[in-house]
């Protein structure tokens, strides 16, 4: 549990983290850090190990080597619920809302690790249990529901929401966790430009108003480059580049492994322009460019 006073943005350091599944090495000695109050983007090709990294940070996977430090404190061996108590909060690549609950209950659930009601108090729902619930409710209404503009859906079952709204509720739940570090796994995947804009705004606002450290995995390069302060690139479980967005963008390794031409217009021109030729041929063309 968080000692009172331990609030605000935290610094996250990952050092020499290695993780393998049987013969498959998903992470090979990854090190990076996320500075307090900044947005760090973790990018890389599919299967590079980004989600696995998130899972190691939140404690769902146990890395074979390396350490995760949270404000200098080694949390590598800590169970996920304890980490949640410290202020680790996250969203999931494949939405993991609790489909049997309403939006409000999903959000309330986020606060779980910071609440104290015990079993007996819960059965009686008297005194402190009731007070705690009321406080939580008030705070969620005030700080989260209004902020993320989801007041109209607070009592709906999450299963009936559109994809975009579900992602927003996930963010809301993560915010209810009193995050000191917020891990966002592909927050705008499957969203159109408009919804992506909304989400980007929320993420920036969280950073600015809550001052939370944010670590984000995302494939939407437009958004990553625009809003992140620091970018780390993984490939085959290794960090191949890191730095400011424009530095990373200019790195030829990154372009080759991950970014591609990065220009739909060019893609369109190429596809439309060519009448024949195999895909493999095109791959070669691209490599020539690089």
């Amino acid at each position: 549990m968080t000692a009172p006073g331990e609030t605000g943005a935290a610094r996250l350091e990952v050092e020499g983290l290695s993780l393998s599944f049987g013969g498959l090495k998903a992470l090979r000695g990854v090190s990076f850090s996320a500075e307090p109050g900044s947005i760090t983007a973790l990018i890389g090709p599919n299967g590079a190990g980004k989600t696995s990294m998130f899972n190691c940070i939140s404690g769902f996977y146990k890395p074979q080597q390396g350490s995760v430090r949270f404000d200098g404190r080694d949390v590598t061996r800590m169970h996920p619920p304890e980490r949640a108590g410290l202020g680790f909060a996250r969203t999931f690549q494949n939405i993991a809302l609790f489909r049997g609950m309403t939006v409000l209950d999903n959000i309330k659930l986020g606060r779980h690790a910071h609440m104290k009601t015990g079993l007996l108090q819960a059965l009686a729902y008297w005194g402190s249990a009731q007070r705690e619930e009321m406080e939580l409710r008030a705070e969620i209404e005030r700080r989260i529901i209004d902020f993320l503009e989801i007041d109209h859906i607070r009592n709906m079952p999450v299963a009936s929401l559109s994809y975009g709204l579900q992602k927003r509720v996930e963010l809301a739940r993560a915010l209810a966790m009193r995050p000191r570090i917020l891990l966002l796994d592909e927050p705008v995947a499957g969203m159109n430009r408009e919804e992506t804009e909304d989400m980007a705004r929320f993420i920036l606002d969280v950073k600015e108003e809550w001052g939370t450290t944010i670590l984000m995995v995302e494939h939407d390069m437009g958004m990553v480059m625009d809003i992140s302060d620091h970018v780390v690139v993984l490939n085959f479980g290794e960090v191949i580049a890191s730095g400011l967005p424009h530095e990373v963008q200019a790195d030829p390794h990154v372009t080759e492994a991950y970014l591609g031409s990065g220009d739909p217009a060019a893609l369109m021109a190429r596809l439309k322009g060519e009448a024949g030729g195999k895909a493999s041929a095109e791959r070669e063309t691209r490599e020539d460019v690089a």
Partner: protein, 269 residues
């Protein structure tokens, strides 16, 4: 009906759970050998449209309550989903939907059922591995452990095995890295070009969708609100703002500069 129209959706309405109406008189068509893209915001009903075509709605308690869908000139509303597949209409579903418990290779084997009764030569798996070498490396591993992108490759690979004449593609770029998006769309384009397969492509990534599509539809709450050849659509101001992220005549706007208010879409008024 013109012979060069492969899929024709005419004025269909779809209702879920006998209560929620999702499509309200939607019409579109896919020409033979063409890639047609269908865009729209979340919840507009794009996936529903595809499921209506492939007759998979019933599995989710949905039903087409009005209108007609013709594939290759025939009314297909009474065909079972697998019979439809065996006629050459393949649906790559949203969220990949690979068989997690099966190996990569078994996933491809499963797709060979699409060839039943069509007298076609079985597709060599090598064709798939040629397009997606990563799958070859992991062909004996359980598909559930593939990363998101690898799973998407497998889903498209299954479509290749089935040798369809029309592929319905639901958000193939979802969760893929930029380079892979390009790669997959390049492959999509070349499948279309080389094998002559028609496609109905649902996408959120409008830029790449426009890059491969010949024609586009834009839908909003269950209806088509705008359509036209790609060249024309990409010049539309609203399309540029809401789907391509361009602000007015200048280039792409930065996410950092987003205002806290929004302009209404013209087609909603």
């Amino acid at each position: 009906m013109a012979a060069d129209i492969l899929l024709d959706i005419n004025n269909i309405e779809v209702v879920y759970n006998k209560t929620v109406q999702v499509l309200r008189g939607l019409s579109l068509s896919v020409g033979r050998g063409k890639i047609v893209t269908l865009l729209g915001s979340n919840g507009a009903g794009k996936s529903t449209t595809l499921k209506a075509v492939s007759n998979l709605l019933a599995l989710e308690n949905g039903a087409v309550t009005a209108g007609a869908i013709r594939f290759d000139g025939d009314d297909i509303s009474r065909l079972t989903p697998h019979a439809l597949v065996r006629r050459g209409l393949f649906h790559v579903m949203e969220g990949r939907r690979i068989f997690e418990d099966l190996t990569v290779e078994e996933n491809l084997t499963a797709a060979t059922f699409a060839l039943s009764g069509r007298g076609l030569k079985p597709t060599p798996f090598d064709l798939v591995y040629q397009y997606f070498p990563r799958l070859y490396e992991r062909r004996n591993g359980r598909a559930g452990y593939l990363s998101g992108g690898e799973q998407q490759m497998l889903a498209i690979g299954r479509a290749l095995i089935a040798q369809p004449s029309l592929i319905l593609l639901d958000e193939p770029s979802l969760g893929l890295s930029p380079v892979l998006v390009e790669e997959i769309f390049t492959i999509i384009a070349s499948i279309n070009r080389d094998l002559g397969v028609s496609m109905l492509l649902v996408e959120q990534n409008a830029a790449v969708a426009f890059a491969v599509a010949h024609y586009g539809y834009i839908m909003e709450t269950g209806k088509i609100v705008l359509d036209g050849p790609t060249e024309r659509l990409v010049k539309d101001d609203d399309v540029r703002e809401f789907y391509l992220g361009a602000s007015g005549s200048e280039g792409t706007k930065s996410y950092r500069d987003i205002k806290h208010y929004k302009r209404r879409k013209r087609w909603l008024s």
